[in-house]
């Protein structure tokens, strides 16, 4: 029996009918890989849209149906929490924007349909952060215990305050005042970025689809970890595919140039195309080719491996090496060298090794609602 490869998993998404040749064991592997990537509900919806759900073995169908229910519930819970936050913080900040997963969900667009995530991210103006933290503390959102170093790092260098957890419901909120760390020296004008928003029917402020896409690709390519790389790539694919029109691309390219994230936009288009066969208009490809980095062969080496489904069952050769390269690349982008060395020393070699080789790294996922 053939083991499923990472490419088979991608192919199942691009051309769902390819799965009809799967053996029951291969289906089982697909379920394991997708559960690990929090993509069961996403694929479930893909298979339903392709009209092949009924042809999936019954035992496997149950896993997808379970994931559907969990994703639906997740959505309801997020809408409830977001409404709480909006109400409680109504008079505090100038703006309160729901980012990433929560933003996807609240947008009502396909990108948020089956998305499962561990925390709710919000962006607010820096001046209001203290008031927000105090208010949230009053209504049960408390900061978790951090080591002194972590606390200091967050406060001084990061683009967010330490995560707050609701004492009763266990939900976690990340309050950001910028979308990239201050430390990187590349931080963009958050107040300006925050003007690229829309208000949903239910009155939630979220990023426009162009800004949402930009944030999503910055998060993926301006980062030191890609544990959920494949899932993030599917987000980008969905955002691009469902907004594939001139106005969207114009906004996105303009915004990328303004904020100096052209390289990341280039990479996003390159790897969604390579891995998920995403359609990117030729004119766009031409326009962003100016951002192609000199070391593209190296960048290809690391991202073509790490952005594919990542599970021990289907890990490509040199995966650990590529993942390590992402870690180093991400850290270098974010921190000046002397701070990076200090940070890594304080974190201790152990935790860096753990973040590379995965020992205990999944414990955090328990926080999933």
């Amino acid at each position: 029996m053939n083991k499923l490869s990472a490419d088979d998993v991608c192919q199942a998404f691009i051309a769902p009918k390819s799965t009809l040749a799967f053996t029951p064991k291969q289906w089982q592997q697909l379920v394991l890989i997708l559960r690990h990537q929090q993509l069961l509900a996403c694929y479930s919806s893909t298979f339903k849209q392709a009209g092949i759900f009924e042809q999936i073995p019954k035992q496997t169908q149950r896993h997808f149906l379970n994931a559907d229910v969990l994703a639906q519930n997740h959505k309801k819970q997020v809408v409830f929490e977001a409404a709480e936050l909006k109400r409680e913080l109504a008079d505090k900040p100038q703006y309160l924007i729901f980012l990433k997963g929560a933003g996807y969900t609240l947008s009502g667009a396909p990108v948020g349909d089956t998305r499962i995530y561990n925390d709710i991210d919000i962006l607010a103006d820096k001046k209001s952060i203290d008031a927000i933290e105090k208010r949230l503390c009053l209504i049960g959102w408390l900061s978790e215990e951090l080591t002194e170093h972590d606390e200091k790092y967050y406060r001084k260098w990061a683009h967010e305050i330490p995560p707050l957890r609701h004492g009763k419901r266990g939900t976690i909120v990340d309050v950001h005042h910028n979308i990239v760390p201050i430390i990187s020296g590349r931080h963009l004008d958050a107040d300006k970025f925050a003007t690229n928003t829309v208000t949903t029917e239910d009155g939630f402020q979220i990023l426009s689809f162009a800004a949402m896409t930009l944030h999503s690709l910055i998060h993926l390519f301006f980062n030191e970890e890609v544990k959920k790389g494949y899932r993030d790539l599917i987000d980008l694919h969905t955002l691009i595919t469902t907004n594939n029109n001139e106005a969207f691309w114009l906004d996105l390219i303009t915004l990328a140039k303004e904020t100096d994230f052209g390289l990341e936009l280039f990479l996003a288009c390159r790897y969604t195309q390579k891995i998920l066969k995403t359609e990117v208009p030729e004119s766009v490809q031409k326009e962003i080719s100016q951002f192609c980095p000199w070391n593209i062969a190296f960048v290809d080496f690391i991202y073509e491996k790490t952005l594919k489904p990542n599970h021990p069952l289907c890990k490509p050769k040199f995966f650990a090496l590529a993942e390590f390269a992402v870690l180093i690349r991400g850290h270098f982008q974010k921190m000046p060298l002397h701070i990076l060395i200090y940070h890594l020393l304080c974190k201790g070699g152990v935790s860096v090794i753990q973040s590379i080789f995965g020992k205990h790294v999944f414990t955090k996922e328990l926080d999933q609602p």
Binding site: P24, H36, Q59, H63, L70, T363, L366
Partner: protein
């Protein structure tokens, strides 16, 4: 070297990867023919129990539990490895399965009439479960009652009965032929042993039953049998408190449990005599109508 095993536990199945002889031996004692070396079977969940690695393992070895790549719990001391796996199986089902409303409760049936026994630890629920299972009742589950949404139908999920502390000696005296696991000492529940239900429960592993009663048992050493009829609102709220996936299933769970409570008898009982309880259940709930 670690091997892959398969446990067929209707309606779910598990593969277990382990190299620990104590785990293999206990699984074999408890699950009998339902436990075997994995060949072509496709399991719902891939679990593993391993000895922790590193220097620490020479001084004080620990067991680690994994559900695929996830490690939901901190390692436990080595001698609890099998009990750890049992709890890991519960965690796996509770966290992933939402096709049934799952109640933290024992379920036992006579014929196809079933009674739910939801109760907190220390209420003597498992001793009662073990007694009934060895006295003409069949066990559908000791810890997890699977109710098909919007019905009163319970799907068996036959598993060993988990006995704690002083119940261990009582059970060993009452059921000298019982198939017991090793004792896991000093767990968060105290000392714990698992007891395999009698063969008749296993044979009916796939036969559903219809709920006719919900009984909250309480063992009180100095109290003769006392029975209180519970009002439906209180019984419902207590069921909700014991439901694993209630918050996920929401409307479905709400309507399922209100329907169950409307259609069954609900009692709270205090007792110090298992035989009296069994007689009451049979006369007043099973033979009722």
């Amino acid at each position: 070297m670690s091997d892959n095993y398969f446990i067929d536990l209707h309606p779910f199945s598990f593969s277990v990867n382990t190299a620990l002889p104590q785990v293999i031996q206990n699984l074999s004692t408890i699950y009998g023919s339902r436990f075997r070396k994995l060949s072509t079977e496709v399991a719902d969940y891939e679990l593993s129990v391993q000895k922790s690695s590193g220097i620490r393992s020479f001084i004080k070895p620990q067991a680690r539990f994994f559900c695929d790549q996830q490690e939901p719990f901190k390692p436990l001391s080595f001698q609890k490895a099998y009990a750890f796996l049992e709890w890991g199986m519960n965690w796996t089902v509770a966290g992933n399965e939402v096709q049934h409303v799952i109640i933290h409760s024992a379920v036992l049936a006579k014929g196809n009439k079933a009674i739910l026994f939801p109760a907190p630890p220390g209420s003597g629920k498992s001793t009662l479960t073990a007694y009934l299972a060895h006295n003409g009742w069949r066990l559908l589950s000791d810890e997890m009652a699977l109710i098909i949404p919007n019905t009163q139908t319970v799907v068996p999920f036959v598993r060993p009965i988990c006995l704690k502390n002083q119940s261990i000696d009582i059970a060993k005296t009452l059921f000298p032929d019982g198939k017991f696991s090793d004792i896991a000492k000093d767990t968060h529940k105290g000392d714990v042993i698992h007891l395999s239900p009698p063969e008749s429960s296993w044979e009916n592993q796939t036969n559903t039953a219809e709920l006719v009663g919900v009984v909250f048992p309480n063992y009180r050493a100095n109290q003769d049998l006392q029975i209180y009829q519970l009002d439906k609102t209180q019984a419902f709220m207590q069921l909700v408190d014991n439901a694993f996936n209630y918050s996920v299933l929401r409307e479905t769970a709400f309507s399922t449990l209100t329907n169950v409570i409307e259609n069954v008898q609900t009692f709270e009982i205090f007792h110090n005599d298992l035989a009296q309880v069994a007689a009451f259940l049979e006369q007043e709930i099973i033979d009722f109508e």
